[in-house]
Structure formats: C-alpha cells, structure tokens
Symmetry: C2
Subunit: 351 residues, 2 copies
C-alpha cells in the first residue's frame, strides 16, 4: 500500500533513511508492496514544509546538502512548529528522529504523544521518549489503535528489539546483557593498542564516533537508556534511566587494560538487566570478559546483545550499533513491519 510519511528531524538519521528510500524505491514496491510518499519534513535547522502531494525527496536531500532552507525551495504549508506540523500533515506515519534528551525526553516525547493522539502511527529512533515513557506511550498507542515502533533506539539497524519481541516470542527471558555503546567500545579497543584514555577519546572524536561533549557515552548514560528500553520489553517493567547503576569508563587506566589482557581478559562496558526476586535491576559497568567469548570478540564500534532464555539458553546478536544509514535501515524495517500488518489485515479479512 502507499504510506504517507511526515519526517520530524532531518539530520543524519532522517537523511540516512531518506537516502535508502530513494535507492530502494523499486525494491520496496516489488518485494513489500510498499510505496512511500513523504508529505512533510520538519527540522529546526532546515525549516518545515508540508505538501500533501508529496515532496521530491531527492531535491530535499540536495537542498539540505547545499545548506539551504527547505522552506525557500518547496511549495506547501511552511514554517509550522512540529506540533502544528503533525496536525496539518495528513500523514499515516510520523517518523520522529530528533535529538536524544534523557532527562525530559523532549522535544521527541511531545511529538510522539501528539502523533499517537492524532491517530498516526509513529516510528522513532529517539531513545529519550522510549527510555523515559515506554509504558505510557505504548498504552496510548494501543488505545488509539496505532503502532509505535522504535527498533532504531537500541543497536540501530541491528535488530536487537525485533529479535527480543518477535524472534524470541514465547521465551522467558531472565537476563539481558550487552555491549550497547560503540563509542566506549572503540575507546577500550584503542586502549588495548596502547593509547591512554584521553588519547583514545580524542581519536574517537576525530573519527566522529564521540561527541565534543562525550558525557552521554563515557559516563554510560547512552547504554543505560538502551538497557532500560530492552529491560522494559523483556520484563514488562517500568525502569527509568536513573534507576540504572551506572559507572562509565573515565577512570579506566591503561594499566587496568594491560593487566586484564595478560590474564586473557578484556575490559568491556557491559549493560546488564536481570530479574531479582520481584524486582528488575539494571547496571552498566566495566566488566572483565574472556577474550575467548562472544563479548570478548566484540571490538571497535561493534555492538552485541545476549538474551538469556529458558528454552534456548543464551542467544547472541552482534552487529553495528550506530550510523545514519544503520538508523535509516531501522526505520525502514519498522515501516515494512507496519506495512505488512496493514496489508495482512486487508488480506485476511477479505477471505
């Protein structure tokens, strides 16, 4: 079917997704019977435009690449803030890809609530709202009969969330553990090569893996949010990022790394959530793991997650955890799932 999309946030992720839509247009139609019309783009930097006829997304990428404003280059309803933008767009799906705020979830939280309340499906890669308000948002979505999909919030396009929800459907999960932050894993890998923490951090910043303010990563806020998201799905809990015991990698010395290596170990920043009696606990801390283990082999910016289950034992999923293309793929997989649900509902009821 054709799905009308409104994109909020046209940064690395929104543009990564748009690039895939352009490249895979024919493939999506032939393989998934999915046709996408982008009826609006709303971005703090590049402006906001709604046009129910559909926007030329090739042109949109070019406009933004050359640093121009969308509002100057497109016809339609322009200049709306995100909330009005959602109202005015007649989109079926709102794609929320603004920046992460782990204290308030804003502005993403407001966007998602607004979209769901208006009966629009939501796909988001924004960790903040999901880590802070998953229970509230999923209940809102259910009550409105729409879908909230957010597979890009953990490990980006590597399908950690879909594996948990769909792949392991029916399993009891007793523990989730993972290397969920590529920046810190890259730094730890570089330290094994002999760089000090500060040198490795600078290297990560130069390569674009770490932000100028690296607090979210190295103080483990980012993996804390991610383990909260996974835990709340796995255990039907209502953890918040502040509930996570959290110790980053700031204090790890080169000597610690070398000493571990001599003993056949690597220091990894491991996020972990488990059931302890009637409560769910979570922590993100540096742990020593055997080099001869799956986590021990996860180096550089690669991520990994392990689900401990009743029927299957430990199941590992390993892959990239960040990037515009990767997050764009996460949005696409969500969109295909949504389309397939909508298609199935047509097919099966027409029998």
């Amino acid at each position: 079917m054709e799905l009308k999309l409104a994109l909020i946030g046209f940064g690395v992720v929104g543009r990564g997704f748009t690039g895939i839509l352009i490249r895979k247009r024919d493939y999506l139609l032939s393989k998934y019977n999915l046709r996408v019309r982008v009826v609006g783009i709303c971005d703090l930097k590049y402006g906001s435009v709604v046009n129910s006829e559909g926007l030329d997304i090739i042109k949109a990428l070019e406009v933004v690449r050359s640093g121009k404003s969308l509002e100057k280059e497109f016809d339609g309803v322009k200049g709306l803030g995100a909330v009005e933008f959602i109202d005015v767009s007649n989109a079926d799906v709102v794609v929320e890809a603004t920046w992460t705020n782990l204290e308030t979830g804003e502005p993403g939280l407001t966007h998602i609530k607004k979209a769901l309340s208006s009966g629009k499906h939501v796909i988001t890669t924004n960790k903040g709202p999901i880590a802070l308000a998953y229970r509230e948002l999923s209940s809102l979505a259910r009550s409105k009969g729409v879908k909230l999909l957010f597979s890009g919030t953990v490990m980006s396009g590597t399908p950690s969330i879909r594996t948990l929800i769909r792949g392991l459907a029916g399993c009891y999960v007793s523990e989730v553990a993972g290397i969920l932050n590529g920046t810190t894993n890259y730094i730890l890998t570089k330290m094994e090569e002999g760089l000090t923490f500060n040198e490795a951090l600078r290297d990560a910043q130069m390569k674009g893996y770490a932000e100028a303010d690296p607090t979210m990563d190295i103080d483990a806020w980012d993996p804390a949010a991610k383990i909260v998201i996974l835990a709340n799905i796995a255990f039907d809990s209502d953890l918040k990022p502040k509930d996570v015991i959290r110790k980053g990698i700031r204090d790890i010395k080169l000597d610690n790394i070398k000493d571990a290596l001599r003993r056949g170990k690597r220091i990894k920043l491991i996020a972990r959530a488990w059931v302890d009696g009637n409560t769910v606990k979570a922590k993100v801390t540096p742990e020593e793991v055997d080099i001869n283990s799956f986590f021990g082999q996860v180096t550089g910016t690669v991520n990994a997650v392990m689900y401990r289950t009743d029927s299957l034992g430990d199941v590992y999923l390993i892959g990239r955890g960040a990037g515009g293309e990767e997050a764009g793929q996460a949005i696409l997989a969500d969109l295909i799932e949504l389309n397939s649900i909508l298609e199935e509902s047509k097919l099966l009821t027409s029998r």
Copy 2:
C-alpha cells in the same frame, strides 16, 4: 484468540512443543492473548486421534511416555492416516513435525500440501519440504490466503529465519554464512581436545548428538538443506540441496586440526551462499577461521549465522541449533506470529 491445532508427528519435537504449551498456558493467554486447543495428534508410532473438543495434552504426554497408544486412551475419531487426519480435523493450524527426508521431502511434503490446500495454516520444523519445495509451497499458501511458517527448520528456536525475514527486512543481503550443524561442530571441538574423528563421532553418538547413521550430519546434507532454505529466502532463488557443493568432515585428520590451532585457526564446517553475477551459489565445506572471530568462538553444539548486508554490514546471530525444547520454542514463536497477524487483522479493520 483460540487456535485449534492438529499435530502430525509426536516425537521429540512434537512433545517438546506440547510440554511448552502446558507450562506456558497462562503466560500465552495473558501476554499474547493466545489460547491453544489441540484437536488432534497423528503419529506413526503412537497412533492417531481427532477430537474437536480438544485433547488433554498432559494426558497425551503421559500416555506416550509410558509407551502406550493414544488410540487406546482417548475418545474421538481414531486410526486415520495423516492425509485423512488433516481432512477430518477442523484445525486452524497443522503442525508438521515428522522426520526429515531430503530426497523426496515425504511424508511431510504431502502433509503440508494437503493442509495448505484445505485452507489451514501450517507450521513446520521439517527441513525436507522447505529445502525441496519452498517456492511451490509458499505460492500455494499465498493462493489459499494462509500462512506457512517454518522457523524451526534452521537453527531450531534460535531465530535465524525470522531475523532474516523480519529483523533485516529492507536490507539487501549479499551473502549468508553459518555454522548450521551442531553435531559436526561438536565433533570438531572434541578433535581439538585430542580425540580422533572416529572417537569424537562415537562420543557424539553416545551423547545423543549424532545418529547411529551419521551421514546426514558428517557428509553435510543437513547444513546443505539449511543453507538452501536461508539462501532461497535471502535471494529469492530456487536452489535445491543437490545444487550445494558439499564436502563433509569425514576426511579431517587430527593433524589438520592441530596444525590449524598452531596458526591461531579452527576448522569449522561452514555453510555459505552468495550471489555470483546472476546466479546464487552455495557450498558447505570445512574452512579455517580465526580463533579470534565470532565463528571461531562457536564451539560444541552451538550454531551461528552471519548475514552480510548493505546497510548494516555483517550481522551475527548465535545460539543453540537443535533439541526438542528448542524446536518446540520455534513452533511456539511461529504460532505467536500467526496469532498476532490474525489479531491485528481484527483490530485494525475494526477501527
């Protein structure tokens, strides 16, 4: 909703699945709104009984455990062969878990065709029919408006197929590679500990990992069927097991293993499928892999698969690949997916 199931094959897999249904009855209802009624069991050894009121599955397991016949212990229509059994049962879903035959696919192939033709959904763990006739069967299912689910055919409950179809939806996959046979991987691991091939094989047979006639495993027919199943999904191809270049582990000597280890390598039986120009190729052969790699860390009966994709690079999934409980979990995950599709179709069309 309630789904009525007819089980064909009540061996390790059928009973593993039934055991899970018993243990998770309340959980399946509360979490997935799934209620299961087993309206028939058909097994060559234990007999065949249909009762649309539903069979007491706790009793069925006990009857079979004590070596008795189901036909003597249950009321209902008895003694039907599988094809008539499918006809007479008013099941929504036929669960096909008979033995694997990679030459003809029988008798599973006939059962699956019959069930789909009668408008029944099919869930199977039987590699034969899917490896030999996936295209034909999926087209039959589509034409009848029913679902054919078979996630237990590769890596058992570890969701290799669902990850490929759902998790990586939208990705272009250019290569699939895996350690898809636990028996041979166990033998190779034991040989690293110093056992000869024959000693390791006997050990695997004593532990129940290898059959009395181990040809399917050690001559690589089993992983050949599995790579065919994955390749045909990934590449929309129509490969057959006989198209796979196949070399088992029979000729591997202890010296080969030791020599590889000295060079930091392990010998693994790797199944691989890839696109070569306009054709899809597949092989299963012993390969040397780095100990310091994900495949290199896969020891004992554990399985692993790697999908090489455009947007995400290499994605690895690692977990157990066999066992009655594990295959039962695969059937359960399929059943939950089916139930969710049927539920969604009700929910979304009532909006």
